[in-house]
């Protein structure tokens, strides 16, 4: 749930709206926010499942330290979503275990 108005921080500033794909579903996000933020705002709390016991995991530290929030982003597993910003049309998937590497060659040089 987004906090549109806050007693100390005031109104949420206008930002450019973009779309990301999470497990094939379109989700609204704002430019420059983290992936975890956009996903949590859409109501999703489970970001991955562990490899051995298949237990759900979500945001835990939100500062890039614990790696509990990793997901597959554009075919690359283990991306720390709490510190990685969203990009237009980013493809994000709930990570199952160690994830699947879907991309062979590098995206940018």
């Amino acid at each position: 749930m987004r906090v549109y108005d806050h007693p100390i921080l005031g109104k949420l500033p206008d930002r450019k709206e973009i779309t990301i794909l999470v497990d094939g579903k379109k989700i609204k996000a704002y430019e420059d926010e983290t992936i975890a933020t956009a996903i949590l705002a859409s109501g999703i709390k489970t970001l991955r499942y562990t490899s051995e016991k298949h237990e759900p995991r979500g945001i835990f530290c939100a500062i890039g330290q614990c790696t509990d929030c990793v997901m597959e982003v554009n075919g690359q597993p283990n991306v720390r979503t709490c510190i990685t910003p969203v990009e237009e049309n980013m493809v994000i998937a709930t990570q199952q275990g160690l994830g699947t590497w879907r991309k062979v060659s590098s995206k940018k040089k």
């Binding site: 906090v3 806050h6 921080l9 975890a36 933020t37 759900p56 979500g58 910003p85």
Partner: protein
Amino acid sequence: MKTELTVIGAGPAGLCASIEAAKNGVDVTIIDENRKPGGQLFKQIHRFFGEKEHLAGVRGIEIGNMLLEDAQKYGVKVLLNTIVWGLFPDLKLGISNGNSVNILETQNIVIATGAAEKPLSFPGWTLPNIMVAGAAQTMVNVNRVLPGNRVLIVGSGNVGLIVAYQLSQAGAEVIALVEALPKVSGWQVHALKIMRMGIPVLTSHTITEAEGKSYVERVEIAKLDENNRIIEGSETKVNVDLVCIAVGLRPLAELCWMAGLRFEYIPELGGFIPLHDENMETSIKGIYVAGDVAGIEEASSAMEEGKLAGIAASVSQGKTDKKKAERDILETKERLRSLRLGTYGDYRYNAKEKIIRKFHEL
């Protein structure tokens, strides 16, 4: 790539170190792995303690903006989204911004990497929406997303108390705050803030279990006797959708270990702490530490420690005259001293003195 002083971590300590050194004419590069500088200051929307010189009564978020302005004013180079992946012999740093990998050569380093919150394990603690209190604070105050509506807070240190207040400010209902000790561990004023709103602060209570299908839906709390054992029959189940763990912090000292700094176990300050002298220089010449990585305290003392390290680095660079540096150091130490007074200050002061003593015993 070359720079005179590299500061790792753009939180309160790192920014103050950078500004102080840059003021003296040192060529400073500050590196942070986050998208924005400021460290945890921007989630601290409350007013700080201290006196005028410490910016008392000013909110952390405003202090953050002031520091960023100063950093810009004095020409500090800021590398964001940049990870320091290694601290090597001869003060070489391996850095990467995701697109390129570089080696940064430098003459002085201030490690100001801060701290991370300690977890607490209990049955079900790994469920989504059980997070450390600072995470909820980041989500709500920085990212402006409320992670849950019915919250249980575990731990009554200042972090737990403040986060309880701030989650309420964002519209959440804090069901209770539990504390295993028989009394509140943080400042009473922070406890009073939430208690008068009707948030139960339950001392001698603990969380015993969390349940939920895909995220936390229910917790069980119970009362503890004087031996910290659960009193049978005191268990109560409460519906929640967010649990915040606030049971202390530990220094993020990985780079210090990698550099080969000498450490000492100082439990009062959060664990293994890199030894340093009175001006924050460590067992490797040219490497300084400042802020929580040098012992868990709070942002105000982190800023003063940062300034000390910044002045010391300026002296080492020959960029400030001795007299001025001595005066600056003295003033900074006085400000630092006044923050380390009282019930919660004395033990920190003593622990810090122990670090300095151990350093000189090396």
